[in-house]
Amino acid sequence: MSLTHINHRGEAHMVDVGDKSVTSRSATATGFITMQPNTLQLLVDGALPKGDVLATARIAGIQAAKRTSDLIPLCHPLPLTHVSIDMDIDMTKGGIHVMATCRTDGKTGVEMEALTAVSATCLTLFDMCKAVDRRMVIGDIRVNEKTGGKSGSWSREDTVAPGNAVPEEKEDAAGSSMSTALLCVRFFGEARDHARAGMLDINIEAVEPLTVAGLKACLIARGDFDPSRLQAGRLMVAVNQKMTSEDHLLSPGDEVAFFPPVTGG
């Protein structure tokens, strides 16, 4: 494989896409900005000095996606048909998950647009909150999925083989030494009776979307867990030992436990 932005003389050049066919394309990128719990609370309460942080950051992400070709030297301008920015406040991890999806009908992919949207959203969150929190960290910006074009659909889940994985970057400034590409999944009570083992390590690349619900679907698809056999009506979940819900976004290194409603005492 060669780098398409370098020509035969080793110079940077813009790829001629004139002969490429027009297809419907999309790309999704994600990132995470770490904040102090107090900052997050102020943000939730709408009490930050610069006003509605999330709405402003969302607009920044959309605007940035449209101007990607102005920022990235060899990136083609293209007409975006759709940009969406989702932000999810995560009190447990202490930060905000940012996800951007871009779509176009065109000759080149939109992953640079999605990455730029995530970056600008994070930068705007930083700008809006920096008066109360200077220790914020922006990180973990990556493409998770793209569709359309010559290479067809691509997602992290399909491409990274265990042992052949690109080493994960440190999760945050504190940087844990444990393997960050794994989720530790545990089962308790009756749920363990219907799981392959009481404890499993799942490569994060296999989970799409990266939520509790996505993880559950992945476990069921792999035959690791069969919640349909539960006598207990409900399945509960805890992430990092705190009860939560299925839409909870996961991060590398999370411990996720599934169990039926508790019956102690």
Binding site: F188, G189, E190, A232, V262, T263, G264
Partner: protein, 149 residues
């Protein structure tokens, strides 16, 4: 004081530990949960399992919440795990305060929340079978009444 243990506990010893030399304690309430028979069948025993780490932090939160709601001098929560035979003690919650209402109510509060939030699971052993105990809707109702207070 919060403890998860397999061994039995001694209520009078725990009382002495909780009260100690504290002269300001005017009331102590203790609740003990036990392994009992089912409505229509004799039970041989229970197996109790829990989620180490999360259990301790949930119980610590419950005790902290109770300390905020009532003026308490001390709280002990001991929960046993493993196999427990018929008639054995499962759990002890003991609260100490200057006046009785705080001790009664906080003990009730901690038990209601322990039953719905602390990650313990019971398996019941009878002559016929071994099966997981189902969560009771009554326990959810019991805990919801504290939200209005």
């Amino acid at each position: 004081m919060i403890r998860i243990q397999q061994e039995p506990f001694d209520v009078s010893h725990e009382y002495d530990v909780l009260v100690g030399e504290t002269g300001s304690i005017g009331a102590v309430v203790s609740f003990v949960g036990r392994v009992r028979d089912l409505a229509d069948e004799q039970v041989c025993g229970l197996t109790l399992e829990h989620y180490p780490g999360m259990t301790e932090s949930v119980l610590a939160e419950l005790v902290d919440d109770a300390m905020i709601r009532w003026s308490l001098e001390g709280v002990s929560v001991i929960h046993r795990t493993g196999y427990l035979g018929r008639g054995e003690d499962i759990v002890l919650v003991m609260t100490a305060s200057a006046h009785r209402h705080a001790a009664f109510e906080s003990c009730d509060y901690i038990m209601d929340h322990l039953k719905t939030r602390a990650p313990f699971w019971k398996k019941e052993h009878t002559q016929e079978e071994v099966c997981w105990v189902a969560a009771k809707e009554l326990d959810d109702k019991a805990v919801s009444r504290w939200r209005d207070k």
